[in-house]
């Protein structure tokens, strides 16, 4: 894989077109790492000059802020903004909608002004511009695919169509979940829930969401968020449907189809 850090670009007096913000899940979580690699594969495929921050990247602070720990959030934001401003970062693409939301909506007020795009929108642009072409008879052709809206792309940022358009390029049969778009049901991970047990209740939110997926009759549930992916995977395992339904990130699906 051809991956360079911003520091390496700078050492060669070069400037990458774009910063790929990997995020903590994309860096450390075994499942999300596959999404990271798939996205890098796509970036290399289209020949974009991109950089990562590597060891210099830190958590954006999203889970800390949403749990209520504003001090920790501000510390992370301060450091990340210092790093990115030092490199004079202009444009960021990220595979994590939580990072996307924080970088795009919350960093500007703190002095971090960048053009931030989610990988869903980026992939849609690449497809629309003809830079990404799907191969004939790809893996997902004719398959029943459904899409789970992540809260942080969907309601939080009103991105509903781009990921669907990306999926349409796969030539599958796209079906909607009964709760979708603005009515989409959360996977249960947001607001720092990813890092704690559910409060007492009748069921887990991801189990409830998995029921929607099963009901749709789809064999693939596509998502755009590493946390949703974990939640959906756990839900599918809980319902013992892992042989029938795969939970995949849209980047993985595109990487397998080019």
């Amino acid at each position: 894989m051809n991956i360079k850090t911003y520091a390496e670009y700078q050492a060669n007096n070069e400037t990458p077109e774009i910063l790929f913000w990997v995020g903590c899940a994309g860096s450390f979580d075994a499942r999300a790492q596959k999404v990271t690699k798939a996205f890098v594969e796509i970036l290399n495929h289209v020949g974009i000059q991109f950089a990562i921050l590597g060891k210099e990247e830190m958590c954006t602070g999203d889970p800390a802020r949403r749990a209520g720990n504003e001090f920790l959030f501000q510390m992370m934001a301060f450091n990340n903004i210092q790093t990115m401003n030092m490199y004079e970062v202009k444009k960021i693409v990220t595979t994590c909608p939580h990072c996307f939301n924080t970088l795009k909506n919350e960093y500007p007020e703190l002095g971090g002004n960048y053009e931030v795009i989610s990988h869903a929108v980026y992939l849609q642009q690449l497809i629309n511009e003809g830079k990404l072409k799907m191969k004939e008879n790809g893996e997902f052709k004719g398959k029943r695919i459904t899409y789970h809206d992540s809260c942080y792309l969907g309601r939080a940022n009103n991105i509903y169509e781009a990921p669907r358009e990306v999926l349409q390029a796969l030539d599958g049969e796209l079906v909607e979940l009964k709760r979708c778009r603005t009515n989409g049901l959360c996977c249960g991970a947001g607001g720092a829930q990813m890092f704690k047990e559910d409060e007492a209740g009748d069921t887990r939110i991801n189990f409830e969401r998995t029921n929607d997926v099963i009901e749709s009759g789809a064999t693939v549930v596509a998502s755009n968020c590493p946390f949703c992916l974990t939640m959906l995977n756990d839900g599918i395992k809980n319902k013992e449907k892992e042989n029938d339904i795969q939970a995949l990130d849209i980047a993985e699906m595109i990487a397998r189809s080019i």
Binding site: M1, I3, T5, V22, C24, S27, F28, D29, Q33, I52, G54, K55, E57, M58, C59, G61, P63, A64, R66, A67, G68, N69, E70, F71, L72, Q74, M75, M76, F78, N79, K104, N105, E106, L110, C151, Y152, R155, A156, N157, N158, N183, G184, L185, C186, G188, G191, Q193, M194, F195, K196, D198, E199, A200, G201, D202, T203, R204, I205, F207, E208
Partner: protein, 438 residues
């Protein structure tokens, strides 16, 4: 006798308006107990939100049947007010149907429109009562509504509107009978569309009996309206007024944006770059983080609380609520209003707020409720009157974590991982790019 009616009318309306203004001023004072926040930028966008979401009730149309019925009640409520203007002027001047001679044919047309609206309001309210009490729509019968006042409040409003509309129609029907008898005070109009259908019920009655009924309906109708007006500020029905400012002042940023805390931003800056820290800081200044009670919230949060009509669309969309957790965004709003009313009463009695040993956090809203939120914004998306329960939840969480150090063990671990390893999990920051070579 006529003068007596006029004097009584002026007296009653004066008292009603006085009491209403007094309570409105109190609510305004309560809302302004919240922290200052400037929400007047992008006026064009704000007016558009007001037109679409308050006047046009855009969000209601997710469920078209309910939206249309609600629109009948709402349009009826607003348009019939034009008729109330005549009723009030009649009451003061002692005339009967003051506008009739001025408007002629148009007058009867207008009354016909009002009658149709009255009939639609009446029918919609009957259907709403049915939905609440017979078919028991889930969101209208959830936890926080089961106990007492809130449930009754909703039914009272519907019954009130049904009674008011019935009085209006009966009044007109009897009026038509009096016109047919040529009763002196009752000016001739053409027949009315709806009330003419019930007119036969009263035919054959004596003139004095008819006048008695007409006067009773007229008085009951207008006094009823005054009572209703004064009931509004104590009721969830206040949304008919506050939905408008609430739509106007709604936050305009993307919903995912959490409000910044500039105080903490500065603290962190001074920590990272001590050379920037001011030297003349007051060592006794106490910073308070997040919200523990209603006064710590923004005035917009408090306006939200008074605007809530307890419809429960938020709670039925809430993933935590749907999976049986204690969190209900509607309860967050109801609790905030209840606590604010309590604080307001405290101020009424003591001139200024006297510590009553209670706070919104803990005494009204529990830690368990706050912990269940996924910040998914479903409640914010759903709300037809532009309320954000999430904004309140986050501010209470901030207080819990930063003032009380009250967070679950797993969150403490997550915090320390972020602080030490720059990631919420316990991995070495040196391995952040290890995936590159795997």
């Amino acid at each position: 006798m006529q003068y007596l009616q006029q004097i009584a009318f002026i007296l009653i309306s004066g008292i009603a308006i006085f009491l209403f203004i007094k309570k409105v001023a109190e609510i305004r004072r309560n809302i302004l107990l919240g922290k200052d926040e400037d929400l007047t930028d992008h006026k064009d966008q704000r007016w558009r939100n007001l037109m679409l979401n308050a006047l046009g009730q855009k969000k209601m149309f997710k469920n078209p049947m309910v939206a249309v019925l609600h629109f009948f009640v709402y349009a009826g409520f607003i348009i019939i007010n034009i008729e109330i203007l005549e009723i009030i002027l009649d009451g003061i001047t002692g005339h009967h149907r003051l506008f009739q001679p001025m408007l002629g044919g148009l007058y009867s047309f207008l009354i016909n429109v009002f009658e149709i609206l009255a009939f639609l309001v009446l029918s919609a309210c009957v259907i709403f009562l049915f939905r609440r009490n017979i078919t028991k729509v889930k969101r209208l019968n959830m936890g926080e509504l089961k106990a007492g006042w809130s449930r009754s409040d909703a039914n009272y409003i519907l019954l009130f509107e049904i009674v008011l509309m019935s009085l209006f129609l009966i009044m007109n029907a009897v009026d038509l009978n009096l016109q047919a008898l040529g009763s002196s005070h009752y000016v001739q109009t053409s027949s009315f569309w709806i009330s003419s259908l019930i007119q036969p019920i009263f035919s054959g009655m004596s003139e004095s009996a008819l006048i008695g009924i007409e006067r009773f309906c007229w008085w009951a109708h207008i006094v009823g309206i005054f009572v209703f007006m004064n009931y509004l500020p104590y009721s969830k029905h206040l949304h008919v007024i506050l939905a408008f400012p609430n739509a106007f002042y709604a936050r305009l940023e993307a919903k995912g944006t959490m409000q910044n805390m500039p105080d903490i931003q500065k603290e962190v800056l001074y920590m990272m770059q001590p050379e920037l820290a001011p030297t003349n800081v007051d060592p006794n200044a106490v910073m308070k983080f997040g919200a523990k009670d209603v006064q710590d919230l923004s005035w917009k949060n408090l306006l939200d609380a008074y605007s809530c009509t307890e419809c429960g669309r938020c709670s039925s969309a809430c993933p935590a609520n749907q999976t049986g957790k204690k969190l209900s965004p509607r309860k967050i709003m109801m609790d905030t209003r209840d606590r604010l009313e309590e604080v307001g009463k405290n101020i009424n009695v003591n001139k200024e707020f006297k510590d009553d040993g209670k706070t919104l956090l803990h005494d009204y809203i529990t830690v368990e409720e706050l912990r269940a939120c996924t910040t998914c914004n479903a409640c914010v998306e759903e709300c037809p009157v532009s309320i954000s329960p999430l904004d309140i939840i986050i501010q209470l969480r901030r207080n819990l974590v930063m003032e009380e150090s009250n967070s679950p063990q797993e969150w403490n671990a997550m915090f320390s991982n972020i602080e030490n390893n720059m990631a919420p999990w316990k991995f070495s920051p040196d391995d952040r790019d290890a995936w590159v070579n795997q």
